[in-house]
C-alpha cells in the first residue's frame, strides 16, 4: 500500500467515524425528545392501570429501555404505538403476576388475627394511584372516572385509554394493543357506552 493510498484510507475511516458519532448523537436527541414528550402521560397511564406508583414507574422505565434497545432504529412515526405496546405488555405482565400472587395468598390463607386487623376499604388501592393528601384536593370527577375505568374489561379499558388519553388513532391503538383495527373500534365503542352508563348522561357537562 502506497503512502497516498494509506492516507486516503485513513481519511475515509476518520470521516466515517465522525459521521457515526453524529448519527448516534442525532439518534439520542431524537429519542430523548420523544421520551420526554410521552413519559408523563405514560406514567399516569400506567398508574391508572396498575394503581401502584412504584410499579407504574418500573413499567415505564422498562418500556423506555426496551424502546431504546430494540426499536430505536425504527422510523420515529412508529415509536408512539411501539412504546405503548411495550407499556401495555408491562401492565399485562403486572396483572398476571398479581393474579398469581393473589392465588398463592388464597391457598395459604390468612390467619384469623390478621383478618381482624385487615380493612379492605382502607387497603384498597386508589383508582388513580394518588396519595391520601392529594385525593382530598382532587376533583371528584377524576375519582369517578378512575373507578369506572377500573370496572371495564381489560381490552375496553386499554382501547379507551390509548385513544382518549394518549390520543392514538385507530391504527396506532391496534398496533399498541396487538389487535385489529376493527376490534379496536368495537372495544372503544363498548367502553364509551359502558362509561356513559356508569358515569351518567350528564357527566361531560
Amino acid at each position: 500500500m502506497t503512502l497516498e493510498t494509506a492516507a486516503r484510507a485513513f481519511a475515509v475511516s476518520s470521516g466515517r467515524e465522525e459521521q457515526d458519532g453524529a448519527t448516534t448523537l442525532q439518534r439520542q436527541q431524537r429519542l430523548n425528545r420523544f421520551l420526554a414528550g410521552v413519559e408523563r402521560r405514560a406514567l399516569r397511564f400506567a398508574e391508572i392501570a396498575v394503581r401502584d406508583r412504584d410499579d407504574a414507574m418500573d413499567i415505564v422505565q422498562d418500556a423506555m429501555i426496551k424502546l431504546a434497545q430494540k426499536y430505536a432504529d425504527k422510523p420515529e412515526t412508529e415509536w408512539t404505538p411501539l412504546f405503548y405496546r411495550i407499556v401495555q405488555n408491562g401492565i399485562r405482565d403486572w396483572h398476571r403476576r398479581q393474579a398469581v400472587r393473589n392465588r398463592v395468598m388464597s391457598w395459604f390463607g390468612r390467619g384469623k388475627d390478621d383478618e381482624s386487623d385487615y380493612d379492605p376499604v382502607a387497603e384498597a388501592p386508589d383508582p388513580l394511584a394518588r396519595r391520601p393528601e392529594e385525593t382530598v384536593q382532587t376533583d371528584g370527577a377524576l375519582d369517578e372516572l378512575g373507578a369506572a375505568l377500573g370496572r371495564l374489561p381489560t381490552r375496553q379499558r386499554e382501547a379507551f385509554m390509548l385513544r382518549t388519553f394518549e390520543g392514538l388513532d385507530v391504527a396506532g391503538t391496534a398496533t399498541a394493543m396487538g389487535i385489529s383495527a376493527g376490534s379496536v373500534k368495537t372495544h372503544y365503542s363498548r367502553a364509551v357506552h359502558s362509561l356513559r352508563a356508569a358515569l351518567g348522561e350528564h357527566y361531560g357537562e
Partner: protein, 126 residues
C-alpha cells in the same frame, strides 16, 4: 344525540387526564428524568450490539468465500503434485515451441483433410 354525549364524555375524560398529568409532583418527574437517561445510555449499547449482529451474515459469507478460495487453491496445488502433470505440461510446451508445430498450424486445413481421408479409407476397404 348519543354521539354528542359520547364526545362530551371523551372530552371531559381527556381534560381530567391532562390535568392529572400536569399535576405530577417533582419526585416523579425526577424519577422519569433518571429513567430516560438510563434508557438513552442503553441506546449506546444497543446499536453496537445490533450492528455487530447485523454483520454476522456478511462475516459468514466472507468466511465461506475464504474457505472456498482455500479449497480451490489447495486443489490446484494437489493437481500440480500429480507426477504426470509436469511431464504432460512440459510435453505440451515442447510441442508448442517446436518449429514443425508452426508449419502444422499453417497447413491445418491440409492435415484435417488427411485425417478425414484416413478415417474414411478403412470404411471403403471394408
Amino acid at each position: 344525540m348519543n354521539e354528542e354525549d359520547d364526545d362530551k364524555l371523551v372530552r371531559r375524560a381527556r381534560a381530567l387526564f391532562d390535568s392529572s398529568v400536569d399535576e405530577l409532583d417533582a419526585e416523579r418527574l425526577s424519577k422519569l428524568n433518571r429513567a430516560r437517561r438510563r434508557a438513552l445510555e442503553e441506546l449506546d449499547h444497543g446499536p453496537a450490539f445490533g450492528s455487530w449482529t447485523r454483520l454476522l451474515p456478511a462475516g459468514g459469507a466472507a468466511a465461506a468465500a475464504v474457505l472456498v478460495a482455500l479449497i480451490v487453491l489447495r486443489t490446484d496445488e494437489v493437481a500440480i503434485d500429480v507426477p504426470m502433470a509436469p511431464a504432460a505440461a512440459e510435453m505440451d510446451f515442447e510441442l508448442l515451441i517446436d518449429e514443425d508445430s508452426f508449419e502444422m498450424l499453417e497447413d491445418l486445413e491440409f492435415y484435417s483433410w488427411m485425417e478425414l481421408t484416413d478415417l474414411e479409407a478403412p470404411r471403403q476397404q471394408s
